[in-house]
Amino acid sequence: MGATSRQRNERQRGEQFGVEFHTRRGTGEQPFPQRLARARLLHLRRRETAANWLALAISLAFYFFLLVGSPAHADPIDGVRAGSLLLRGRGAAALQPAMRVDTAVDAEVSGMIARVTVRQVFRNDGADWMDGVYVFPLSEKSAVDRLQMRIGERVIVGEIREREAARKVFQQAQQAGKRASLVEQERPNLFTTSVANVAPGETVTVEIGYLEALDYDHEHWSLRIPLTLTPRYIPGRDATESPAPPEGPGAPTDAVVQSVAGSPSPPVLLGTRPPDAERITPPTDSGSGDSQHVSIHVSVDAGFRLGSLQSLYHPVQVSESQSLYQVELLEHEVPADRDFELTWSPDVGAATGAAVFTERVGADTYALLMLVPPHEETAAVSPPREVIYIIDTSGSMEGNSIRQARAALQLALGRLRPGDLFNVIRFSDRTETLYVNPVPASREHLDEALEYVGSLQADGGTEMLPALQAAFRMQASAGHLRQVVFITDGAVGNEEELFSLIRTMGAARLFTIGIGAAPNGHFMRTAAAMGRGTFTFIATDRDVQGRMGELFEKIERPALTDIELGWPTGMKAELSASRVPDVYYGEPVVLTARLNIAPVGFVTLSGRGASGFWMRQIPLASARANEGVASLWARNRIEDLLDQRRAGADADKIREQVLALALEHRLVSPYTSLVAVDHTPVRPAGIDSLQSALAHTAPAGSAWAGAQVGYPSTATPARLHVLIGLALLLFALVLVWSPRRIRVRT
């Protein structure tokens, strides 16, 4: 039970109570309010009961205060911008704003590749020299290949180094009083920028550049730019502890999955604390008021006229000239409290069927292929399904997220057909299954499930491992296609451990639904890929209907499987992925390959669909040249290698291969970082620089946003409860006393 959530729940309950009370008074249906009014009139006439009336008035006024009076929040004090850190300068009496970071994102879309530049402006408003550490999200598909540090007019270009070496270079520069910056990867979608020796009053800009292949789904292209992160839960078990059931008092015990219907399942293990837990849990800023800001500019050169162009969560203005679209935020700067997503679709008649992009680097040609499979291959109706829904009810889902998750799950339950089987699992720090084993989707079962889902509240830790284990262990029914639908914000730090489990799930397919303003995209995408399913994101209430609709189309139809490629004779192609993933309705096949010769002839794609075998040819000669394809290939190759490590490949060998690829293509990876050093020392010897961890903004609509304003909230509503209780007692007393008099008079 978290304090914040408890407080909030209680506060909500209090408000609900107030509102309920209010409406009951408003309806006038009950005799109670009328009598109350009459009682008040009588009391008015009878002066000797003035004291009594006063008590009533006080309690009413108190109620009124509860209904209307919430602490005022709008405040003119704006001397210090939020999102900044305050440091007490040496000898200075007052708190001063210290380091602050603002972000400007510039994305250039060309065809199906985006080149994104993230400009982090570190400003030191304090009187001391500063070092800063900033943990921030980037797209989980990003290939980070550029770093530039700007100080005034000077530009220092970063170099790729092996991770430890890069850190050494940075630390030496820091100690020598030189300006330096370092970009490291913590997770595929989580990075750290460190800056050293920022002079008082100085601004240092760190520019990080990455490439990304765009998503295509249901005839829409989309570019997603993560701007903040949902604080990750770090599970409890120490990596050093043996996975065998621990003994002795106080040792962590295994969770027991309890089914609502009774009978506990065998114990399952809790998650393990990842070794880098400290590095992935930066401080969170509430994001209320004047918080950390971001500006965004996107230019879209899709290669065709657009039928639609839409920013899903931010108001934007768009200008167009000759099929080149410029997108800018309507408000120049916005709080960095939600992900940015831009989607567009071609004009009618210009639907995308297939596309090839190539890049020549040295003797090699790199190719990026995309093919939208024929729709009729996925249009058929699939065999009966057995769906296990897992819903995350942990504390990080509190706020809008749990509401959206409930709505999504209720929609999904409504889509089940007679003959399908289902079950619901909810988890926080404990896992609960609605039924011991999947049950038929009968009216009674569905009603029961809908009610159960409607009553779910978010609170507690995020122990995903037991929930997934419970789902995978559940008895499979013959003749049914087993699907696991996982609704979560993915706010966990032990992703690797979960992926390893998902790898073992066998024939079942896993679909992830990422909830919230800033879900963990890396978890959603990779978990779905390993579970041979697909993923979707829901960020707002209005997304629920549409996005879930698209997901239903996918999970209710058969996937295209066994996809194979045939290359022209004489051409050797090294695919980045060792296995071509299955493709669901509305999705394209996307592949990157390294070719030994210039592209000629046709590549043949074949696979198994609803009507059996299908095949398509894509002409390679019509390929468009596009910068970045090589980097994307290398990035995908690295991802595949890291996946092989999960499958048990030799870790050292994988490390060697990843390191070589990353250094060759200048990519940031788990083993490589970008580092930039300005070689003139600037900080005078004898003066130290202070260190600060910069906060990220809490996602909008989450439990972290709003309530906590820099300093945590540190009051319980206990006193409020006591006073409400007293007021109610007083009220009851008045009521006991007054109607008796009324009766006497009538």
Binding site: Q7, P71, D75, V80, I234, G460, S692
Partner: protein, 219 residues
């Protein structure tokens, strides 16, 4: 008449529900500290991040004592707010209590940190670290801050302890913007040695222990 009885019952029922809630908050605050004793012992025995219960998203990081007021509380990791119901919480991103640098600990104004209002400048606080060492702090400043305008400092230059709670202490509705801050400076090592007397402070001068702030570790 029946309606009146119903309404009365409703009122009395809701009233007791409200009292129960208030009681629950306080009971949890007191009981949790008892439960935490054991995991604190495990921390002292060298278990890293000893969780009081397996699914807890927090664990004890230090023990805060104040002899004059009879305060003895276990400080928990992470001020995500979820932990505050159980005990004072260490704010992420600041140094751990007793470690070099600035450490911030927050607590509820009506339970664990109610004692802050009675602290005066010059009072001594003792922090027991997980490695067994004790560190003394002396209260140097008392202030009321506006959380809307002021942010938490993360200053690694001075060894300070900041205790923060909501202000005013007697406000009824939670969620106000004001915070009461007690700033305490670490009593210097020489002085500390005198005060501590024969007490073993092995971890104090030895190699840097595992307690390190987020910033230190990353830099």
């Amino acid at each position: 008449m029946n309606a009146r009885v119903l309404v009365l019952c409703g009122l009395l029922g809701t009233a007791s529900w409200q009292f129960a809630h208030a009681g629950y908050i306080h009971a949890k605050a007191i009981l949790a500290q008892r439960l935490l004793e054991r995991s604190w012992q495990r921390s002292l025995d060298g278990v890293d991040a000893a969780r009081p219960w397996p699914w807890a998203d927090t664990w004890p990081v230090a023990r805060l004592r104040m002899a004059r007021l009879g305060v003895d509380e276990i400080v928990l990791a992470g001020s995500s707010g979820r932990t505050l119901a159980f005990g004072p919480a260490h704010v992420d991103g600041t140094a751990l209590p007793g470690a070099p640098g600035l450490s911030i600990v927050a607590g509820h104004r009506d339970t664990h940190f109610e004692f802050l209002r009675q602290l005066a400048i010059g009072d001594e606080l003792q922090v027991d670290r997980a490695d067994g060492a004790s560190v003394r702090y002396r209260v140097s400043d008392l202030a009321v801050l506006d959380a809307r305008a002021q942010r938490m400092p993360l200053d690694a230059a001075a060894d300070r302890l900041e205790l923060v709670t909501c202000f005013p202490f007697d406000a009824v509705v939670p969620g106000g913007p004001l915070r009461y801050r007690v700033l305490a400076e670490r009593v210097s090592l020489a002085e500390h040695a005198l005060v501590a007397g024969r007490r073993r402070i092995a971890g104090e001068h030895g190699p840097e222990s595992k307690v390190e702030s987020f910033a230190n570790e990353v830099m």
